[in-house]
């Protein structure tokens, strides 16, 4: 086959192809009242819409990107019912649907009935008051600039008759980035170290399963030879395909992080870890934190730095799990090993390992006391070309570690950090193999460290598509 041309970066929203490092961001949720209102609102935002083109040496002081949910597309676009039917079921039914909840497993406090946005009524139907049609991701270099930008966006919404949802502080607060040290999350880990390369394939082997899942054609809609086949791409619905081309899905998920439960788990288990290792309790805490995550808090992967964090490996992304078949360096259920098992042996139906583009930021201030139950966590942007076979597949692995023969014979453990512990029939202990020890260290019940506060599946449409909506 001829080599497909790479996308024109001026048509792709910048958030997809590059990680912004703006220190200030806010993620505003909106509900459309009509097609005309959506059109007017998006048209007003176009001056700040950022493409993936290089911005040179000076970062833009203020810029934004726009995501649309399926309900948002249904209202804002001119697509017919048949064309709308061409979008993937996972996107059209949304993250609160039974199908998606089979993977996300949001039980208990994370139940979609308790979500701050995008959730359900107690009868299982979508809550109209929490419906999200659009998310505007706004970024700025300074707090004042962000304030100016969010004021501009809010006024544009009001002028168009578009309703803003304020999910935090009892309906008064936006999802705004908190200034933790760069690329750090509330549990103290550095984040965002390993991202897909987003290369354009040099060769286009067949079958598509042999392509590199980190390549850009697995994330952008409208290109061939992806094992995940981002859609819609049906020739029978060319308008839907054109609408979605050069777009990418965003699983927007706000995740509360229970910092006190996390710290308590480390403190409660440090004595037995210290005794097992013959080390101090302070070392034991950091060692346990690293075993839960697969990387030390500075970023060093356990595979390369099994005994202590090392600045030389803090940004390392080139390593393998194939030699660690007993989990002696990195436990099988460590978060980063579940979220990206790399070259680990997988069952055929799980291959190839899907990748996600992660553009999340922390929200909420750190706790000031052990009893501080303030709202804090991660504003998660998980970008993919196929919500079901990329995002939800990884989430299913997180809730049930059953994707590799390594988990034999029970296949019932969970991601040490992220899983929902109420997932039926799961073993919530945490097993840490110890080199030279007769038995692994098995720590008791993993707590619920993370709770879903809301989820919305969005399409980050191309710039031409957004301009077309703006023109009505």
């Amino acid at each position: 086959m001829s080599t497909p041309l790479p996308p024109d970066k001026s048509t792709v929203q910048g958030l997809i192809m590059r990680g912004y490092t703006h220190p200030y961001s806010s993620h505003l949720l909106f509900r459309f009242s009509s097609k005309a209102a959506a059109s007017q609102f998006i048209k007003a935002l176009l001056p700040y819409l950022r493409s993936a083109e290089n911005w040179g040496t000076n970062k833009p002081d203020k810029m934004l990107n726009i995501g649309l949910t399926f309900t948002g597309i249904s209202i804002a676009s001119s697509l017919t019912k048949t064309e709308l039917n061409a979008f993937p079921n996972t996107f059209t039914t949304g993250p609160a649907s039974q199908g998606s909840q089979g993977s996300l497993q949001d039980y208990g406090e994370g139940d979609p009935e308790k979500w701050l946005f995008g959730g359900l009524l107690t009868n299982g139907n979508p809550d109209p008051a929490k419906r999200v049609d659009a998310i505007v991701h706004s970024y700025a270099m300074h707090q004042n600039s962000l304030n100016e930008l969010t004021d501009f966006i809010a006024k544009a919404a009001t002028a168009a008759g578009v309703v803003e949802l304020l999910p935090l502080d009892g309906g008064k607060g936006r999802l705004e980035q908190y200034q933790l040290p760069v690329d750090t999350i509330h549990f103290g880990y550095r984040d965002g170290i390993s991202e897909p390369d987003l290369n354009w394939p040099e060769t286009w082997p067949a079958p598509p399963v042999n392509t590199d899942p980190a390549d850009l054609n697995n994330f952008l809609i409208g290109y061939p030879n992806s094992a995940f086949q981002p859609g819609p791409s049906n020739p029978a619905t060319p308008n839907a395909s054109a609408f979605a081309k050069d777009g990418c899905y965003n699983a927007f998920r706000v995740l509360y992080q229970d910092v006190n439960a996390f710290d308590k788990y480390l403190s409660d288990n440090a004595p037995v870890v210290a005794q097992t290792l013959g080390k101090s309790t302070e070392y034991a805490k950091e060692w346990l934190a690293a075993k839960l995550n697969g990387r030390w808090r500075n970023g060093s992967p356990l595979i390369l730095s099994p005994d202590a964090p090392d600045p030389a490996t803090a940004d390392a992304t080139n390593f393998s799990y194939t030699e660690d078949t007993k989990g002696l360096k990195c436990p099988f259920s460590a978060h980063t090993r579940v979220g990206n098992p790399r070259d680990e042996a997988l069952f055929p139906a799980e291959s190839p390992v899907p990748r996600l583009i992660r553009r999340g930021v922390p929200y909420g201030a750190p706790p000031v006391s052990d009893n501080d139950k303030g709202e804090r966590g991660l504003i998660g942007l998980f970008l993919c070309g196929a919500l079901a076979s990329q995002f939800e597949l990884i989430y299913s692995w997180i809730n049930t570690n059953n994707f590799s023969p390594l988990f034999s014979p029970n296949f019932d453990t969970q991601d040490a950090l992220l899983a929902n512990r109420a997932t039926p029939d799961m073993d919530t202990t945490f097993t840490i193999p110890i080199p030279g020890a007769a038995k692994p260290l098995v720590l008791p019940k993993l707590p619920q460290f993370i709770v879903a506060r809301g989820t919305a599946y969005c399409l980050l449409p191309s710039i031409p598509t957004l301009k077309a909506i703006a023109e009505g």
Binding site: T82, N89, P207, N234, A236, T237, T400, P409, T423
Partner: protein, 143 residues
């Protein structure tokens, strides 16, 4: 946790369609065995031909499966496997109300399966045991 998929697709009444349904029924297990074996999530899958009320001819195809975990992330695998793709595409091709747009890719396949699944909730399923296919295979390896 096991979940049900009950796919019911009414079919056209012309002789060619009726013959195709009969052929799909008779070749079902041979067609899908390799794919379903490799998936490691299928407990059972069976197909049945629902007769017309008159007793003559076939009203529709009924496919009943019980599988572990969630369905949608694994549809990619079933679409990429030739046997399962052909079996499902064959059913879609003879549907009385053909999928719109037609099934030509993974997205269309995902939509066809979900739209025709009569079981939307896991609580529709009685479970006589809680073990997964992987757990059962590990406990009872092939002799």
């Amino acid at each position: 946790m096991a979940n049900p998929l009950t796919l019911y697709v009414p079919i056209k009444q012309d002789p060619l369609t009726q013959a195709a349904a009969q052929a799909a029924y008779e070749s079902f297990v041979d067609s899908v065995k390799a794919g379903l074996d490799a998936s490691n999530i299928l407990h059972y899958a069976r197909v049945a031909l629902v007769p017309n009320p008159s007793g003559e001819g076939i009203l529709g195809i009924l496919l009943i499966t019980t599988f572990d975990g969630e369905m949608n992330p694994y549809l990619k695998f079933f679409w990429q496997n030739e046997g399962t793709r052909k079996a499902f595409a064959g059913i879609a091709a003879i549907a009385l109300n053909p999928p719109s747009p037609p099934v030509t890719d993974l997205t269309g396949f995902e939509n066809f399966i979900n739209e025709n699944n009569l079981n939307k909730r896991s609580k529709d399923l009685y479970k006589g045991y809680t073990q997964s296919v992987l757990q059962i295979k590990a406990a009872f390896p092939p002799k």
